[in-house]
Symmetry: C3
């Protein structure tokens, strides 16, 4: 019996500035486009109507940025989070170039922070991951931090290197993908009349649609992203965990919430940045996910009359009624400690003015 099976890195295996080249580049296919719609119910216009994408300047139908994120994220799992106790957070995720069917993604990560926990058993690893296409153009990059096991529990050695993390992605014209313009935008395309001008800072929207997660749904999605973390797939092992069930990949919850927000934010056509995010509670098959959003800020770009940006926080909930969600959205302190709140996602959308 030999040790060819990769066991993933432990806290002691990481060092500051370490570069990781993640395995298995992945070509995106038109099958991914359809599967993403089937898995999430996404109806976002620029990722399902090629005629509209072309009327907005793209040569072809761009892949949903969250699909791109999940595939790129999946590449980092074997090296970064196979031994993760928890995915603690995301920041500074920027989608810098659109991706189309036929493009191939490769991902690398750099260790940017390390912090031991006082229990001597775990530590936090901060990484900056970059996904590039086959032309070596960066298509998405992000920072995340995960708690991982130590190989050998031991008294902390004083490792305490926490990186600076910007609280949001800087807003400038680089957030607009090349070619994209809304000069010809028609509300008929989405059957939704709410443009940037109609949203108010502080406004709260309950998106109301509920989506129940089936075991195959999240298994299929997570396998599609080639994310092989055992907690999502191995029921024999997870039946001995506290919950007794497989965990749903947190990114699947992000996608469900983004799909649900279509009702109320149909013209939030391009997800251009994720300023920060956290999974506040785990989700399991059988849970029904809901979403509500609060508008944080909005604005215009210099010399662009067609397009503006909307920054918002979307919260994901599970198994609660519309009224309870409304109440929680009014009380931020309650919201973040609610066991029914599963996601907090701070992100920036491009929207027709």
């Amino acid at each position: 019996l030999t040790e060819k099976t990769f066991q993933g890195y432990f806290f002691e295996d990481f060092e500051i500035n370490q570069q990781l080249i993640h395995g298995t580049p992945r070509t995106i296919t038109s099958g991914d486009i359809s599967l993403y719609i089937a898995l999430t119910g996404s109806q976002h216009l620029l990722n399902c109507a090629e005629t509209v994408a072309q009327a907005c300047g793209f040569k072809r139908l761009p892949i949903d940025n969250l699909l791109l994120f999940h595939i790129a994220f999946g590449k980092t799992v074997p090296d970064i989070s196979l031994n993760a106790v928890a995915n603690l957070g995301y920041a500074n995720c920027r989608f810098s170039s659109p991706i189309f069917a036929g493009d191939t993604i490769s991902v690398t990560s750099k260790v940017i922070g390390l912090k031991e926990n006082s229990n001597g058993k775990t530590g936090i690893v901060y990484v900056h991951s970059i996904a590039k296409n086959q032309h070596d153009t960066t298509v998405v990059e992000w920072k995340r931090w995960v708690m991982v096991h130590k190989k050998t529990p031991s008294a902390p050695m004083g490792i305490d290197h926490i990186p600076d993390l910007e609280s949001s992605v800087t807003i400038n014209q680089n957030l607009i993908p090349d070619d994209l313009n809304f000069d010809n935008f028609s509300s008929d395309w989405t059957a939704c009349k709410h443009r940037l001008t109609h949203y108010q800072v502080g406004e709260i929207i309950n998106h109301r649609q509920g989506m129940t997660i089936n075991d195959s749904d999240h298994s299929l999605a997570t396998r599609l992203y080639q994310n092989n973390a055992r907690v999502h797939f191995d029921q024999h092992m997870m039946s001995q965990s506290a919950a007794g069930k497989r965990l749903v990949y947190g990114g699947h919850i992000m996608s469900l919430c983004r799909a649900i927000t279509h009702s109320g934010l149909a013209n939030g056509l391009w997800l251009t940045a994720i300023n920060g995010g956290a999974h506040l509670n785990p989700s399991f098959a059988g849970d029904t996910v809901y979403a509500a959003s609060i508008i944080l800020d909005k604005g215009h770009f210099d010399n662009r009359e067609d397009i503006g940006w909307l920054r918002l926080k979307t919260y994901g909930f599970k198994n609660i009624d519309e009224e309870t969600i409304n109440e929680l959205m009014m009380e931020p302190e309650q919201l973040r400690i609610s066991k029914q709140c599963v996601l907090e996602l701070d992100y920036t959308l491009l929207m027709p003015n």
Copy 2:
């Protein structure tokens, strides 16, 4: 808290001759082709073998007409049936032009009938929906009627405008898609020797194959069609309904039955029209679906020696044995009141002579 989330139209929101432009055009991809096979088990030849499709005159592999129907139908749901109590029926569905991967579908509807119910709480809305491709060519059109809630229950005001609905799609050469011919048809392609000449009017066929519906199967299918009716997805809400379970989208039952009929009707190569249809009972995950058909009529087209038409009714059943289905097929009155009968579909197939 604001009201940007679209709540769907109620009975009072509709008026005769109203035009509705449904949101989110949808580009069909080759991913849809594979997913449709995976979701339904369809084996219909012209939709899975490009070499054969080309030998029959098409330039490329055409999309299954039921897949086209579901995607087009899904577009109408947010406007027509988000508040539907029940989908009462379909009529005059005609597939007028084949669709290929890469084509983009847009859908509009016109209100053609309105009838209040005597209970003062609901009414029936009749619509004529038309799906076009990116060249503005009609690809499928149909009429349907749904029972929708009133916003405010009130005594009926006498609205009673029921449209004329033809009992069947007119049979003429327009039912044959441009380019399609069976001049070179070979029974080896389907391994089925039954051509049009072998079917008798009045003949009953029990297709025997059973297909059990899993929760993910119908959820994936209905999301793929971007049909967002809550009854199909929200278990938290549906646990308070009479059945306590999510309803399976009726169109998924149509597709399962069409796939099951391959055994006995493998040479019914092109579904060209749905004369009428009704969902007689609801289906739920866990149900096993069976199908049996009765041949209603058949005939030839002028100047076409290669191709003829077969009109038939296929009934969908759930959770019963072959013998019980045979008995029900012999007794039409019992059939339509059986709780195990879930679908009645009257349609026309093109078949090699």
Copy 3:
């Protein structure tokens, strides 16, 4: 009520040298590529990264050979195994030419052996099946034997024609697909440093990853392959079987095991032959599948410095712990009688030297 529904062949319907032309050629799409990843979690490099496939000499991204096998196998089910009691074994499966999205597969079989069982109720049918692409080039061929019901139980008539089955596919340069070379291979592509030289004959590898099968997973996979054997789909019928549940298609277990072996065999880039295989126990939804392998042999090809071959046996297990698998792998007699062992697969991989 008429008999147009094909009931499949029984033992008496087969004769030596009989040729069967299986129905429904099937065009492979890029949707199949993505679905296969979603269904199995496969991460094998040459089937998901087009840039790498091209760097290894292919013009485009080749389809996973097991996906090709399942689709080709599915074509044979209506004729060969619709009345099968059990799929007894496979041998001499050779992948002779790569397949790409857009190619169309047609399948024929020849009966090469027949043996009655002494119970008078069943017999064993041996077939040699060949799948060709649209250019009439053989892409995969294999032999298999299945136990099928007799139409009419009767005393054995002495039919006892057992074919010679080679114990392995002959190793020569024909096992290397045209165009394929590993001259430029980089371990960064897979993030795995183990090349052919690092594997020892007799070495045992426990691949450790577990994959729980959901009902939709195996239903979707088996429908995608257009394999319509009733035991996989009809819960109403199977609730009266001994297990009370639908059987998982054995090929799905093969694919899960191959996907799981990525951890430890990531550079086993091309599955070129299956020397033999057997499903030792049935699998059901809810089972968690694991895999372990033993290296049987390895070697080089004449005049090829880039590429070598590795012959191994992979065993599939269900619902047991890592340590128990390790123990079973050390005791071949225990292994093959274990109720937890579901698959034995003897196959040959191409690997960079």
